[in-house]
Amino acid sequence: MNTLTRADLAEAIYAQVGLSRNESAALLETVLERISAALEAGEPVKIAAFGTFLVRQKGQRVGRNPKTGVEVPILPRKVLAFRPSQVLRARINNQVPPKRDDAA
């Protein structure tokens, strides 16, 4: 199993769009930064045919240190969830995506 990194995505932009490698990398970074900033503001990010990133609020609960058994409060926090769209689900199984994409 291979792992793609920023460099691979920047290379794909370079190959597809024909911008310089430097600018391709900078634009990828801008895209990730804009998505992060929207999520930081608590705003969901919907990418059609890919999926939705959304911030969920979790309440406080009592946790336990599994090693020592000491009870520790787990503070209220926000977690990031990703809901893949039906199109993405179909594509990664190499299937034809459904006509209507309702999860994106």
Binding site: L9, L32, L80, I92, N93
Partner: protein, 111 residues
């Protein structure tokens, strides 16, 4: 924020780029991630998160209405694990722990 809003933001920040190029840039990013997952590869974007495809084994499911057994084929399910930096940003900076790990361990030994 939607994909079209993301494209609009990117276009506004880069007035030297043509609109179709901006659309192609955004499409390329998500298409590349999708293609990687379809190949069974993972995509790791440090500070942002990692995309991977989790394998689900074939199983016997049931039609909830009739109770009839139906074979459910194995499949891959997309998964996203947010990166540490992004998790912390969403929570407004690095976490403030109630007790530091050192204190927790010390009180455990006393108890």
């Amino acid at each position: 924020m939607t994909k079209s809003e993301l494209i609009a933001q990117l276009a506004a920040a880069n007035p030297h780029l043509r609109q179709p190029d901006v659309e192609l840039i955004v499409a390329t990013i998500f298409d590349e991630i999708t293609a990687a997952l379809a190949r069974g590869d993972r995509v790791e974007l440090r500070g942002f998160g990692a995309f991977s495809a989790k394998r689900r084994e074939p199983r016997t499911g049931r039609n909830p209405r009739t109770g009839a057994a139906v074979a459910v084929a194995g499949k891959a399910v997309p998964y996203f694990k947010p990166g540490k930096e992004l998790r912390e940003r969403i929570n407004g900076g690095p976490p403030q722990k109630a007790t530091s790990p050192a204190q927790g361990a010390a009180s455990a030994r006393v108890a």
